[in-house]
Symmetry: C2
Subunit: 210 residues, 2 copies
């Protein structure tokens, strides 16, 4: 059985059917939403790219997640507390569909087959999100910068089905995604090159050494 759903179809159906949804367009650099109140907002990326970012009180930025087409995000997934200002920034022009989870749930309490289908989709969307988050936790729990980098490269490499790939981040962003210092990361990249683990030309990486 195929667990991964066709998110695109699902989202289109939601958009058509749910009169409470709102579609909005954003320009690069704009804030799509901030997680400040518990409105149980659920958002779908229709097009473009965005990052969920957090700044700590020392000014360190963390890219908590990176969203592309058909990804789900939103307040719904967070316990909002005042310690963290979380917000989603458009990395390119983007269009986003906004829902309130309560609305979706409400509608799905009726018993028709269409809402059954919607709910079916929702559950798969959440499941995919769980899988992504577990992958992320695996990276963050690695003990050294080297392991984080190699772990990340392996993931990208699997996704692209190729041992050579372009990092879908700037290197500055990659450091914030892995929660490490950029200059320390650059140093480690150099060492990985010297030790024959990778080849690197700019943001293009080849994994050697199997």
């Amino acid at each position: 059985m195929n667990i991964s759903l066709n998110s695109s179809d699902f989202v289109q159906q939601l958009e058509k059917s749910c009169n409470k949804s709102q579609k909005k367009l954003f320009h690069k650099g704009e804030v799509i939403t901030s997680y400040i109140a518990k409105r149980n907002q659920l958002c779908f990326m229709l097009s473009g790219e965005a990052d969920l970012v957090r700044y700590d009180f020392n000014g360190n930025r963390t890219i908590v997640e990176h969203f592309t087409k058909n990804d789900v995000f939103g307040e719904l997934f967070y316990i909002v507390n005042t310690n963290n200002e979380l917000f989603v920034e458009a990395k390119s022009d983007a269009s986003v569909l906004f829902f309130l989870y309560d609305d979706i749930k409400q509608k799905c309490k009726s018993n028709c087959s269409f809402h059954q289908k919607l709910f079916d989709g929702l559950s798969s969307l959440f499941l995919n999100e769980v899988i992504d988050l577990n992958t992320r936790i695996e990276l963050l729990s690695k003990r050294t910068i080297r392991e984080k980098l190699l772990g990340y490269f392996n993931i990208i490499s699997s996704k692209n089905i190729s041992r050579t790939f372009t990092i879908p981040f700037s290197l500055t962003d990659l450091a914030d995604y892995l929660s490490i210092d950029r200059s320390a990361m650059m140093r480690e990249l150099k060492l990985l090159k010297e030790d024959g683990f990778i080849e690197k030309m700019g943001n293009r990486i080849s994994l050697l050494h199997q």
Copy 2:
């Protein structure tokens, strides 16, 4: 609207209704399951406690998650790759309900109101899991041991609605949960005490300093 579901009711219904489920008992220290094949296994903790652990090639142990009554876990949530041996260890005597996700999904394709309800519950279970994982990511992405400890203490403190609480781990396990060296953590605990952030008597902590 209350998003968090009554997992207990849900699981009991699942157990009764789903003839494909299996209930098993485990003794402290036993391996409940290992994530080795993609069987899409989904497990419910009926009683007891367990840890999802991973050992890296240096022998570092990470407690990826800690499960108590009514928590969900399983292969279903992971992309299983050979680099990681993930397994769930009973920390006390425990009873666990095993399902295959495919079976649950299959059953729920029928249109009766009961399966609708099951699926409703499933979606909430996944959502709760997403919220937990995001909380965990927030901890792991903190830059220093001090911030990880304070972040963790704040979470426990909120859950207990008290600024004084007992850590639900041994300190050894806490270090593995935060992915840090135990002795470095002990050192930092001492500093937190000296700097007036916490009081500490064994595994009992008080958060001071607002």
